[in-house]
Symmetry: none
Subunit: 145 residues, 4 copies
């Protein structure tokens, strides 16, 4: 299904975003943790968002910010976080961009043909769980079947 | 598919929200205008969001605020807007709630058993188009098949 | 009951604020409209707030802003509103003070000994209903029994 | 007393919130520290708030944010804080959600039948005092008499 009626390129279709969310949701159900899942496009604008039943309300914003952060700097939020601890080079970066920066894992860039065209952000569990679910979403984009 | 692993009631499941978005999207495709579509739950927290390919970027925020406004006051944003013109009783209401208030059509409460349990907000076209698409979404919730 | 352990004067005790809220709530129950009710003190800081069961979520912020507005300018929000319509002298004032200004009725200053020592704000119904309930609250402060 | 004139479920009545605030206030008077006390409902919307006479003005916002934080993540703010120190998994989380996150003690979820239906937040003293007063409020909800 193609929604586009005007030729605005954004590097990510809604169907692709929904495909990513569906893959992440399957992983979240598999590990038994309800998650918030967000997908942004090349321009770092929200393409799709889903809050699974019972997922933390405070993670709605965090999932979106994780996706935005991953596209802001074209790296995972886990990698950005490592450089943002007290004493490290980017300490304090999380108050930039109106505070829409998350410096722990769960945000992953989406790459097509070697180019970052968006990002996925997941929040709702322990950080390793968020990362596992975000990776399932990113994997489905990088290797569609 | 039930995501809920902890019994937190929010009056709206993700599947219901996706069903509403799908119905609204079909109507948007039918009239040929790509839309942003948002669904909030009883507590006015975002449940799901979708931006159709090519939809206005400035309408991401407006769609979310239309949904929130409709739940904030349990009425359509069109009805709220009629009372918010200069000289009318609610003139100026749109600067309340951190400006997350939209006073033109496209936000509609979602009702179940006589109780407002959420709202849908649509933005991306002329206001009558936004209303038409939001009504298609709300209709699918009120009369699921 | 006196809570104060340090002599910080604010012109309004919590017991007085709760007395105002109780009086307003009785009036709201009498007219059958659930309301949000806020009381601020001399320094325009929130002293007490109550949301009656089923009251509009969007009126939480509006009740607080009505109280603040009434103390900001030591006049009712209805009076401020009359001067803030398009073409009138204060048109646009509602975007000042971070948007925490409401320019329709329901906010009323609280006066003791000819001095404004706080304000009450009510939101949840049609504007005349909000005013009626706010007046019941203000009356109970001005004429305690 | 039931305020509800429209059947909107929010998981917490105003009377319940006032009962929690009264219990917290008694504990605050007992330890001699005036407190700000906030209660939110299932949807994380403010239900009631009280500032005791002489309580810190800067703690009005903190009490509300503590309550919100406890409901945002369905855990105490003390527990969230432990995971949010530099080098820990959630470091930086406090700039999310528009900064309405507090990562020290005094916010506690309110549970009914195993379901989180709101939260209480207390601020005005040393953190152990805030926690003691919040626990008195939460205890009164979990074990009403």
């Amino acid at each position: 299904m193609a929604d586009k009626t005007t030729p605005t390129a954004n590097g990510m279709t809604l169907d692709e975003a929904h495909h990513i969310i569906a893959a992440a949701r399957r992983k979240a159900l598999e590990i038994g943790v309800p998650m918030n899942i967000a997908v942004v496009d090349t321009g770092n604008n929200l393409t799709a968002f889903a809050r699974m039943d019972g997922a933390w309300l405070g993670s709605i914003d965090i999932a979106m910010s994780k996706a935005k952060t991953a596209r802001f700097f074209d790296m995972t939020t886990a990698d950005l976080g490592a450089a943002s601890q007290s004493g490290e080079s980017l300490f304090g970066i999380n108050t930039s961009n109106d505070g829409n920066i998350i410096i722990f894992g769960g945000g992953i860039p989406l790459v097509r043909g070697g180019v970052v065209v968006g990002a996925v952000g997941v929040s709702g569990g322990a950080v390793p769980q968020d990362i596992e679910v975000a990776e399932a979403g990113a994997e489905s984009f990088n290797n569609p079947q």
